[in-house]
Symmetry: C2
Subunit: 291 residues, 2 copies
């Protein structure tokens, strides 16, 4: 059932984004760079989550397609910039050379910039949503992506690369760097499905727990994963002297904590009186996946 849902919605999201990116043709190399990283794959977890929330509330998922597509563009932008030499300095991502390796640093920086900036237009011009919903979604996404969200989390992560940090700091970094876009997916789904503020705030807390579980899983895979399956190098955290959940809690402790956050999310989700089948399957995918 989850597979059917993914197979239904991912091509729709990809079609919106590919058509949109192809229309950005002033500077052909820049367009190619954006399409390269967009097409490098990934499971489109965030847009699928957003649409699964709408579906769970029995609302029309077509109303969420452009917001979901926009979210994936913002995510793609963050991957391009995170891989830059001045940041994590990664050569491979999803089994392919990173953007700056192919297009050069200048174009990679500008491709990330464009993805951030142009993405908003997908929401701003979405005629299936009221202008009031559009400005709310844009404001939410701006908060979740910006200096008090994902980008701020990336800054904290980089600042703490060679520092010993405690669990609270690690949670703070991950809550923002990874968690905020996942939180946006859940909150946006509830907004588009016309839910009330109490439910929207519960969705935010679910997003927080799933975001942390997602990051712990990522840390575990960095130790246990198979490079061939992951499509990127493992043991990068060790190389970059990063404090991880595995380092602070041990491998078993990290797995236990991941499970605990997953269960908290599940309990909250089941309290909402919505159809949770697809969402629960998605949460399990996040926790169980090997890449």
């Amino acid at each position: 059932m989850l597979d059917a849902f993914i197979n239904q919605v991912v091509p729709l999201i990809d079609e919106i984004n590919r058509t949109f990116l192809r229309s950005l043709d002033l500077a052909p190399k820049l367009k190619e760079a954006m399409l390269y990283s967009y097409n490098a794959g990934g499971k489109r977890i965030r847009p699928v989550l957003l649409l699964a929330v709408i579906e769970g509330f029995g609302a029309d998922i077509s109303k969420g397609l452009r917001t979901a597509a926009c979210l994936e563009l913002i995510h793609t932008s963050s991957l391009i910039h995170d891989d830059l030499p001045a940041m994590d300095n990664d050569d491979y991502r999803r089994g392919l050379p990173t953007n700056h390796k192919v297009f050069g640093e200048a174009t990679a920086i500008l491709a990330g910039d464009s993805l951030l900036v142009d993405a908003y237009r997908l929401i701003a011009t979405d005629e299936l949503l009221t202008p009031t919903d559009r400005v709310r979604l844009i404001s939410e996404l701006s908060t979740c992506s910006g200096a008090n969200g994902m980008i701020g989390g990336q800054e904290l992560d980089i600042e703490n690369e060679n520092t010993k940090i405690d669990l609270d700091t690690l949670v703070k970094i991950n809550k923002h760097k990874t968690g905020k876009l996942i939180e946006f997916a859940l909150v946006a789904g509830a907004i588009i499905a016309n839910q009330n503020e109490v439910i929207i705030e519960k969705m935010r807390r679910i997003g927080e727990h799933i975001g942390i579980a997602f990051q712990i899983k990522d840390d575990i895979l960095d130790v246990e994963g198979d490079k061939a399956i992951l499509g990127k190098n493992t043991l990068r955290d060790e190389k970059n002297h990063k404090t991880t959940y595995v380092k602070l809690l041990g491998l078993e402790g990290a797995k236990h904590s991941c499970q605990a956050h997953y269960e908290k999310a599940l309990t909250l989700l089941r309290s909402l009186g919505m159809n949770t089948a697809v969402l629960e399957a998605l949460f399990r995918l996040i926790i169980d996946s090997n890449k």
Copy 2:
């Protein structure tokens, strides 16, 4: 009169932006980096233009303050990224070390990213504007800033750094790199002042001419200007092997072309039946200024 207008509105714009940036306090160094470049000065030409249009139509400039502030944040972002080693590799800007020189490349990249992303929230949450006007302004700004606008223009500029280009290509680059945000200032002012589509499109053409005049003036200053007054190195274009208007048209030809675009803008402006006093003075400032 222009001075009085500038002295009235610039402190209002700066107050909005400084308060906003100070609230982005998750990662203190990131916040400092954003404030550093914002506070490095500049004449705030773009937001002043936007507000002068509103004033010229006899509308309430307070309705344009947050959009004007947002525009200056986007402009600040572009300066930080343009100065990066992978781009123009500049050490000084407005007489001060560039952002990456002070905060490091990673933080400079993220500061530029945040400014791009967070800026939109100033418009999205502006309760003095209708949600319909807000989404239109966001859509316009996204187009003018993104891959088919300012960022695309910067990409074309970098791609052509060591190439001989003709006047058409140079105009195309500048129209986007420098021109699009100036165009946005004029268009946004007309939207906020509730003008009709014919007038909005005339404003766009005025913006194009003023944008080109502005860039030609910049090229002239790179040859004729005084480093101490400009606050940045001169002869950078020569160093970076950039084709400029001065190179293609000669110094006198460039001055003539600058004047011609200025006069076209003025003729269009005077056809609109608005109060053009402040705007005309501003246009003259752009053409005559020595920095």
